[in-house]
Every structure is written in C-alpha cells, then in structure tokens.
Symmetry: C2
Subunit: 185 residues, 2 copies
C-alpha cells in the first residue's frame, strides 16, 4: 500500500524508474525497501490508473529513459494517504523475531555470534546516518531550525533514524553484556 504513495510523493519531481531506485537505496532505505522488479510494474500500473504521466527521453548515458511525474489525481491520492492518519503497529523487524527465538540455538557461542554480527551491522548503519546528518549541518549553520521547507520533513526522518539506530546499538551492547554475565555463571 505504501510503495504506491511513496512513488506518488517522490515523483512530484520528475524522475526515471532508475532514479527512483537510487532514492530507495540511499534515502528511503531508512524506512522502506523496494526492488526494481517491484518499482517498474508499479510505475506502469500507476500510469495506467492516471496517477502518473510518462515521457520517454534520450539518456546521456545508456538506453532511453522514461520520465514519470505525479498527476493532479496522483497528488490527491497522496494527500488522502497523509490525512488518513499515521500508520503504526504494522512494523516487521525480522532481527527482533530472530532475537526472540535465540534460546533455540544449542550454545551460547552461536547466540553471542548473532549479537556481535548485529552490533557490527547496527554500528555501520548508525555511522552512515550520522554522516548524512553531518553533511546537512554543514549546509545549515543553525540546523535544524533553518532547514528549507523542502528539506524539513525529510530531515525529521533522518533525525529519528539516528536516534532509533543509536538506541539499537546501545541495546545490542547491553544484551551482549547480559549474555556474557550469564555465561560466566
């Protein structure tokens, strides 16, 4: 349901399917994952429904591009989604599900390895988000108060990302400590 609305949101500025994929990889990765094989059919579907327009143009590198853009009807659908209220309690965090059942492994070494892997990945993720925030602060000396209208809301999601992934790092560190203490008993 949300991929549709993310596409309608991001295509208020014209982009190709490939451009959209870059946005997912570098910006939306913080809160939504989508494969190219899902993006292209969805762009086609939304165009058929009249929520997007498409225009084929030659590319400076590689084959022709198809540039998509949100229509007035598309914008209405986007606004309906936003005014329908926040969508919560639909999260799926597979690594937490795995943690819940970690007791099913046969030994503490395997459990410890899982948590150490998780810590490494979370620290990398946190670092990546902090780097983006640092870059933003260079452009806005009175960050976050002087952010442009366009960057204000995207930046809110960055702020939560930093906070949330930071909380994850602390939590895995604590979990490893607790496990080590149990192992030494």
């Amino acid at each position: 349901m949300s991929l549709k609305h993310i596409l309608l949101g991001v295509l208020q500025r014209p982009k190709s399917g490939y451009d959209v994929k870059q946005m997912f990889d570098h910006v939306f990765s913080n809160f939504w994952a989508a494969k190219l094989s899902q993006i292209y059919p969805q762009l086609k579907k939304l165009t058929d429904e009249g929520l997007l327009t498409v225009q084929e143009t030659p590319s400076d590198k590689g084959p022709n591009k198809k540039i998509y853009q949100t229509t007035a009807a598309g914008k209405l659908a986007l606004i309906a989604w936003l005014t329908d209220g926040p969508m919560i309690h639909t999260e799926k965090l597979a690594y937490l599900a795995q943690t819940y059942f970690l007791g099913s492994l046969d030994n503490d070494q395997q459990r410890l390895k899982f948590l150490q892997d998780l810590l490494m990945r979370m620290r990398e993720w946190h670092q990546a988000l902090v780097s983006i925030q640092v870059q933003t602060k260079l452009r806005y000396p009175n960050y976050p108060h002087d952010l442009s209208e366009e960057e204000f809301y995207p930046n809110l999601t960055l702020m939560l990302g930093v906070k949330k992934v930071g909380a994850n790092v602390e939590w895995v560190e604590e979990s490893i400590e607790l496990l080590r203490a149990r192992m030494n008993e």
Copy 2:
C-alpha cells in the same frame, strides 16, 4: 519468509492457530504483524511440508481445536534461519514514509495534527510496553540478571521495544516543537 520461522519457533510448545494469533496480538506485536487469514494457510503449508504436526482435540469452549507442534525437521529450519545471521535493512515503517512527505499537505494545521496523532499513539504503545516490563520486574527481583533461560531472549526484545518506542516519543515531541517554532515565524 519470517512468519514461517516465527511459527516454527513458537510451536516448539504445542498451540492452536487461535493461540498463535493471541501471541501475535499480545507479544509479537512489538516486531511482527500477522492476520489469521495468513496464519491458518501457513500452518497448513508447514504441516504439509513436514515441519509441523497437527492433532485435533475437543475444546472446552467453542469448536474443536487443531494443536500444532514443530517437528525435528521444523527445528532444523528454525536453527538454519537463526544461524544465517541477523536480517536487517528490510524494515518498512509506513509512518516514517508519511512523515517524509508531510510537506505535500497544504497547511501546517494538517501537518501538526498528523504529528499529534502520532505522539498520542506512540505514548500509548510505550505505556503498554512499560507495563509488561513492570510486571516482569515483579516476578524477578534482580531483573534482568535473574531471568529464566526461557524468558531471557523474549525479554531482550521487550527491552528494545521500550527503548525504541521511547525514542519515538521523544522524537515526535521534538518534531512538534520544531514545527511550532516554524509556524510562529
């Protein structure tokens, strides 16, 4: 992919499909959502694959129950999932996607309303998780060090839940402050 493994994990102790749904609503809601219409077909499929056994028994209330339980093959599949390493960067947080595009609404009142709704829901969620933690602390005077082997890993997910949803509450509060400051300019 994960629903399968959550079922294999939770059915190491025998349960009906209905019991499993209660677990999703009250325990797993912290990290995974699943509907009955997804659970029942999946139980059937896993039984056909030999990862679960089923036994029909009369119920004390309502119609007959089907009690499912994980087989040795099912446990192997569970362990393979756990040893395959932590699954991250697959999260889908629809409310963050909505926040990203909040600038597309026409006025600040609508944006403020969205964030206030979000704050209310996050506070309720946080309160619910804290309550469960308080109950657990009553049973374990030296919490979290004296948790049973069985409750240790489920409790880790509770600890992250409290931390993570707490971080969300703080973030929405800050976001509302930032928006109000912009509105007064």
